[in-house]
């Protein structure tokens, strides 16, 4: 039997970690009355969001109606499924709704899926639990407004180790310490995945450790990639970089753009990064994560023998970074106000209005009524024009 099934907790008490989240969850469900805000569980995969919802319903005597984000894509669909449940609850006993992967609701926004969901969430007649991996996107903000958010965190390595050792003891198995550490790091706090790897390792499957690059950090990996002896080696390093794709693309971008390269090579490399960025754009816009498998294939074209590229975290000199951060923010505030007064966009204002305005003010033929931050940045910018 799969360990991840065998050791799935039977009740909430058996769940490992995230004690606070568990407590808020139990409180919420225990005290639930008509009108109580829905609950939004946010956290990375495999740490027990679904398990929590399933166990909670069992323990509190509800009937779980569970649906996936793909069911709730359009307004029509969501109303079709949910309205009957919300309307006459008696027929179905004591129902509770669980919607998984709400951050995956996508597609053209005019289908109104999120809006329809938010409308339902506003007036809950039965308990509703939502689960999501992340809560940062715009539509998640709308959902968060009408729900109580509970965050679940990845389990810390220490706890993972205790947990895995306990399981191994029960199974009468053992894993070499080196493999154990690697496995814990790789799992990133995902219990489901560590159970799967533990079962595989205890069953005699030995991953290659000697030539594995997986323990390298970003800096080392990027440097090793460009210093690789062969395209195959470079590719192996690339595949071993298990980091967020955006981070991966940016690490290469920063390193390449800050290295001194002949224009023709720079052009080819940026072209490759541009392709990678397009792929990533498609992935996040359409949520088509299966496309991710092609990313390393594209990035491997960055390998050129004999180029001197060194890892760099930042791709702009410090003064520029500071100017973006502070002056950029001040100018944004200034142009937002003035652009509205002049009936143009911020971009147009910056291009065709601001420089002339600064010139007039510098020559004292124009005086404007400005607040403190605005006049400060104006003074600063006036000093910059010739």
């Amino acid at each position: 039997m799969m360990w991840s099934e065998k050791y799935r907790p039977k009740n909430l008490l058996e769940m490992v970690g995230n004690e606070e989240a568990k407590e808020s969850f139990v409180k919420w469900l225990g005290k639930w009355i008509k009108g109580t805000k829905p609950l939004l569980l946010v956290g990375p995969p495999g740490i027990g969001k679904t398990t929590m919802a399933v166990l909670g319903t069992k323990q509190f005597g509800y009937d779980l109606i569970s649906m996936n984000a793909s069911d709730v894509r359009s307004k029509q669909k969501i109303q079709e499924i949910l309205n009957p449940i919300l309307g006459n609850s008696s027929v179905l006993g004591k129902p509770m709704i669980f919607i998984d992967e709400v951050d995956g609701i996508h597609g053209r926004s005019d289908f109104g899926g999120v809006e329809a969901l938010v409308d339902i969430l506003k007036e809950p007649t039965i308990p509703i639990i939502l689960a999501a991996n992340s809560d940062v996107s715009g539509k998640m903000k709308n959902i968060k407004k009408v729900a109580t958010t509970v965050k679940l965190r990845p389990l810390p390595p220490r706890l993972m180790r205790l947990y895995i050792e306990e399981i191994l003891k029960r199974e009468g198995a053992s894993i070499k310490i080196g493999n154990m550490i690697k496995m814990i790091i790789d799992s990133r706090g995902d219990i489901r995945s560590i159970l799967n790897s533990a079962q595989a390792l205890a069953g005699g499957f030995e991953p290659q450790l000697d030539k594995s690059y997986e323990t390298h950090n970003i800096e080392e990996s990027v440097n090793l990639f460009f210093n690789a002896k062969s395209p195959e080696e470079a590719q192996a390093i690339l595949y071993s970089m298990r980091i967020d794709p955006r981070e991966k693309i940016n690490a290469f971008y920063s390193s390449i753009i800050t290295s001194t390269l002949p224009v023709n090579i720079l052009k080819d490399m940026l072209d490759v990064l541009s392709e990678a960025d397009m792929l990533y754009g498609k992935i996040i816009r359409k949520q088509e994560w299966r496309l991710l498998r092609y990313l390393d294939g594209i990035l491997s074209k960055l390998y050129h023998q004999g180029t001197t590229i060194k890892y760099s975290k930042f791709n702009l000199p410090w003064p520029t970074l500071n100017r973006i951060r502070w002056d950029g923010m001040a100018i944004k505030g200034l142009t937002r106000n003035l652009a509205k007064q002049m009936h143009v966009s911020r971009s147009t204002f910056s291009t065709f209005y601001l420089p002339y305005l600064l010139c007039c003010m510098k020559n004292k033929s124009l005086e404007m009524d400005l607040n403190e931050t605005d006049s400060e940045i104006i003074q600063k910018e006036m000093a910059l024009i010739k």
Binding site: R108, I249, L270, S274, M342, S345, T351, Y356
Partner: protein
């Protein structure tokens, strides 16, 4: 003399009849105004600074009277982040009715509508229909071909033409006289040449020049370099010269410090390519087109634009 406002606002026409050089448009708008309650949605197209926004504001004044500001929502698609933002703001604005007064409808002016993606424009269709009972839209675009057909068909379309040199110069003369500033006609003609018929740009340039001294050819030339489009032109020069890193730093400053939008940057870059007279024009335009498309698909505009600079740098080799 110390002024407290920008002339471009001070001298913006407030009546349709004082709009310069768009006689046919003014004529047909007049006839529409005879029966305001039946006015359709409007779509104004034409290049920058020919009076599209001004005409829309004049209409707002004439239809809605003194309290026009209250019943007019001005949106600029280049500033709004996504169609949902537009939907929210339109919804909120349409909701408070205020229709107990004697205004025929509320007005929504959507500037730079051609900056919206076609998906967003499709969504806008619904928004327009949902609010049609209480609201009229005036959409403004530089390029009508970037507005999807279904939106065009919901509007009466007005194509604004460029303002002639004569008209601009005589308008500038009028301002000069009212402001009592020294000028010569050569200076005013130079203003026209630098702005390429963009009235608001011309007036801003005029005001800056006047703050230096007499409006003559030399002074105009020196103030013309102020506009951020000249930064775009130096970025292009740096890139073509293979100085990618410098070009990129300057471009990032323009976009991230001053807030020039990426699509405006590409627009000005494209215009600049025609201006510099080069045998590589078609290759350059091809590169811009390639990365303009990739910018829409991609996730990080900076990567796409940097890649464009490097590709431009490789052309003259």
């Amino acid at each position: 003399m110390t002024e407290s406002s920008m002339w471009v606002e001070k001298y913006r026409p407030t009546k349709i009849s004082s709009i310069i050089n768009q006689k046919e448009i003014v004529g047909s708008l007049r006839s529409l105004l005879k029966n305001t309650s039946e006015m359709p949605h409007l779509l104004f197209s034409g290049s920058a600074g020919v009076g599209k926004t001004t005409t829309a504001l004049c209409l707002a004044r004439e239809i809605l009277g003194d309290s026009w500001r209250e019943y007019t929502l001005e949106l600029n698609a280049s500033d709004e982040r996504g169609i949902n933002m537009v939907r929210e703001r339109v919804k909120k604005f349409a909701r408070f009715s205020g229709l107990d007064t004697n205004i025929p409808f509320k007005l929504i002016i959507l500037d730079e509508a051609d900056e919206m993606t076609s998906d967003a424009q499709t969504a806008l269709r619904r928004i327009i229909e949902d609010t049609a009972r209480h609201c009229r839209f005036i959409m403004i675009a530089n390029n009508i071909s970037k507005i999807i057909e279904p939106l065009q068909s919901r509007c009466a379309v007005f194509k604004f033409t460029r303002i002639s040199e004569e008209d601009i110069v005589s308008h500038l003369e009028e301002i000069c006289k009212k402001e009592k500033i020294k000028y010569n006609v050569e200076g005013l003609k130079t203003l026209y040449q630098y702005s390429e018929g963009d009235m608001r740009h011309t007036i801003n340039m005029l005001q800056a020049t006047a703050s230096v001294g007499i409006v003559n050819e030399d002074n105009v030339k020196s103030s013309a370099g102020l506009a951020k489009t000249s930064d775009v032109s130096s970025i292009l020069k740096l890139a073509l010269g293979g100085k990618i890193s410098e070009a990129r730093n300057k471009m990032i400053e323009l976009i991230k410090v001053y807030g020039m939008s990426e699509s405006d940057f590409l627009k000005y870059l494209n215009e600049e390519c025609y201006r510099i007279k080069t045998v590589h024009l078609s290759e350059m335009l091809k590169a811009i087109a390639k990365y303009d498309y990739r910018l829409i698909i991609g996730a990080n505009p900076e990567i796409q634009l940097s890649a464009l600079l490097a590709e431009l740098g490789n052309i003259e080799k």
